[in-house]
């Protein structure tokens, strides 16, 4: 029998003659990534493993992104610790103000190539499946073992193949694709599975859209979300990386556990209502919901594509009094590009706040915390209870057009109601 794309990648990184779903194998890492939250615990654990030096400094990346800029002394200590550790170990370190949110930085700086294995001390490491890699999120002890020995244990996942047909319609984005998948699978439906996105609709998605889709695979409980590499991937990687790679896909006779089909022609904007990414509804069902804060950013939807969409809505318009809007580019490069394209000016003139790249309020860390009972529309990936702040506060997850339109209207509306055109 043939192999799935995920099985092929794992097989190429394990000491095994063959692999099948459920087999537990040790998987070699091509990139090990950690940050100011998972890093400090992992460094301590590596020491307890009796290992002083990382297995290969060229394969280790540390990114300061969660409590950035340091909001208090305790956070500043973490920043200092990861900076000093990175220097002592000779690994690549993206310090505050130089990189941005880890998953975006790794993708745009060419760390990730198709067929590689990325072990990240953050659950959204599945984002790297957008580039055909096996990216998977791990905790600090796993990361300690990866830093020490370059390997982690992994039960080979099965595969759920998501066939995308048609093309995205106006005001519909990668966010809506993955919300549609989660609506079908539920928040635990992808457990022990890789989500694989195939079909003409998948091939037509840009890399920014693929990043948004792969990013939220973990919200269905999946090990990763993966797009087979194609010409779109090659074009994105051109000039970003020198690492060799080849394009692989699942064999026609590979074992696929489940198939889903999503027709992009008929997909319209969706939201995830509080307090679960699985609490999904058509945008129409929540129109009129009053909004205190709009947050456009995070590792799923803080790309230049998202910022352009938001700017299209906010250009020449104002954020509604009584509502506040924050735009957080996912990386310094995106920030610079947004400046060059005049998007930052658009946001500031509209009365939105533009922040330095950071995880910040996405996980309730800093820079845009909600008061008790407030409502936000965010392009982020999680809306768990209290995630962004106060007790009883609620987050609606949505795409950037929907989020920006809510900022202008002060309530959830169809983007077409602000811009004209598109879905009613």
């Amino acid at each position: 029998m043939g192999h799935t794309l995920t099985e092929k990648i794992i097989l190429a990184h394990a000491d095994a003659d063959d692999v099948a779903p459920g087999d537990v194998v040790m998987v070699r890492c091509d990139v090990v990534m950690t940050n100011d939250i998972s890093g400090p615990m992992a460094f301590r654990t590596m020491e307890r493993m009796g290992v002083e030096r990382v297995f290969d400094p060229a394969k280790v990346v540390v990114v300061a992104d969660h409590f950035v800029p340091a909001k208090d002394v305790r956070s500043a200590q973490l920043m200092k610790l990861i900076a000093e550790w990175s220097q002592a170990q000779g690994v690549t370190f993206y310090e505050q103000g130089r990189g941005g949110i880890e998953h975006q930085v790794l993708a745009e700086d060419g760390w990730i190539v198709p067929g590689s294995v990325v072990a990240g001390g953050d659950s959204h490491t599945c984002t790297h499946g957008a580039l055909g890699a096996f990216g998977t999120g791990l905790g600090s002890t796993d990361i300690a073992a990866c830093l020490a020995h370059g390997r982690f244990w992994q039960a080979v996942p099965g595969t759920i193949q998501v066939e995308l047909t048609g093309a995205l319609q106006r005001f519909v984005s990668g966010k809506d694709v993955i919300l549609a998948v989660i609506a079908q699978l539920g928040v635990g439906g992808g457990t022990n599975m890789a989500l694989e996105f195939v079909g003409p609709g998948a091939e037509a998605l840009t890399i920014d859209e693929r990043l948004a889709v792969a990013n939220m695979a973990v919200e269905a409980g999946s090990e990763t979300g993966i797009f087979p590499a194609d010409e779109m991937t090659a074009a994105y990687l051109d000039g970003r990386t020198e690492r060799p790679w080849t394009a692989e896909r699942s064999d026609p006779d590979a074992l696929i556990d489940r198939r889903l089909e999503i027709d992009l022609d008929t997909l319209s904007p969706l939201v995830a209502r509080p307090w679960s990414p699985g609490n999904i509804a058509p945008l129409d069902d929540v129109l009129g919901t009053k909004v205190d804060q709009v947050y456009i950013g995070n590792c799923s939807n803080g790309t230049i594509t998202d910022l352009r969409q938001a700017a299209e809505v906010l250009r020449g318009r104002r954020v509604k009094p009584g509502t506040r809007a924050m735009v957080v580019p996912a990386s310094q490069k995106i920030y610079a590009q947004a400046l060059a394209e005049g998007l930052v000016e658009t946001f500031v003139e509209a009365g939105a706040m533009v922040s330095t790249p950071t995880c910040g309020a996405c996980f309730g860390g800093s820079n845009g915390i909600l008061a008790e009972g407030e409502t936000a529309v965010a392009t982020t990936n999680r809306n768990f209870r209290g995630r962004m702040g106060g007790e009883g506060s609620g987050i609606y997850l949505a795409n950037a057009w929907v989020a920006a339109a809510a900022a202008v209207a002060g309530e959830i509306v169809q983007p077409g109601a602000v811009l004209g055109g598109g879905s009613s």
Binding site: V24, I37, S38, M49, R74, G139, V187, G278, F363, R385
Partner: protein
């Protein structure tokens, strides 16, 4: 290896790591200080039920969300010896196993347990007993069992011959 303790029950499914250990406390690195914030977004009162011999009894897809290992570290620091659930989210499960905190899927035991039930977990036999009644649990893969018996990934990794780890 048999782990035994007194049941502390957490009701509900898909309990996420944000309510188990909210983001603002992620800059804490001392396990005993982490323990002070366990269950903060869910029900801080649960902390008072924890003693040196607790077995946490949970529902489906427990621990969904972040990779934050602060959750099982805080659990261990609070005297939780094992977690028995209907099912677990992937990273939370890995984190428990890696720390040597036994996590076992056993819907029968979850249905039977009430607060303060005596719970005995026998991972090698694939059984969980609640007040003396035995329920079949999902068997752990041999590799996972070996790691739990070693006391976690740190100990397991130390035992591997150099070069094979």
């Amino acid at each position: 290896m048999i782990v035994e303790g007194r049941a502390v029950c957490v009701s509900g499914d898909n309990i996420d790591t944000d309510v188990l250990y909210p983001g603002p406390f992620l800059n804490i690195t001392d396990p005993s200080l982490m323990a002070e914030h366990l269950f903060e977004g869910l029900d801080p009162g649960l902390r008072e039920l924890l003693g040196g011999d607790s077995v946490l009894v949970v529902g489906e897809n427990f621990g969904t969300g972040s990779s934050r290992e602060h959750v099982p570290v805080a659990m261990q620091a609070s005297g939780i010896r094992a977690v028995v659930g209907r099912s677990f989210a992937r990273i939370f499960y890995r984190n428990c196993i890696n720390l040597g905190l036994l996590a076992v899927s056993c819907p029968g035991a979850v249905a039977a347990a009430v607060p303060d039930s005596r719970v005995q977990v026998d991972p090698a036999a694939g059984e969980v007993a609640v007040d003396g009644v035995v329920y079949a649990a999902q068997m752990l893969p041999p590799f996972v069992l070996e790691m739990v018996e070693a006391g976690g990934l740190v100990e397991w990794s130390r035992r591997q011959p150099a070069g094979s780890r």
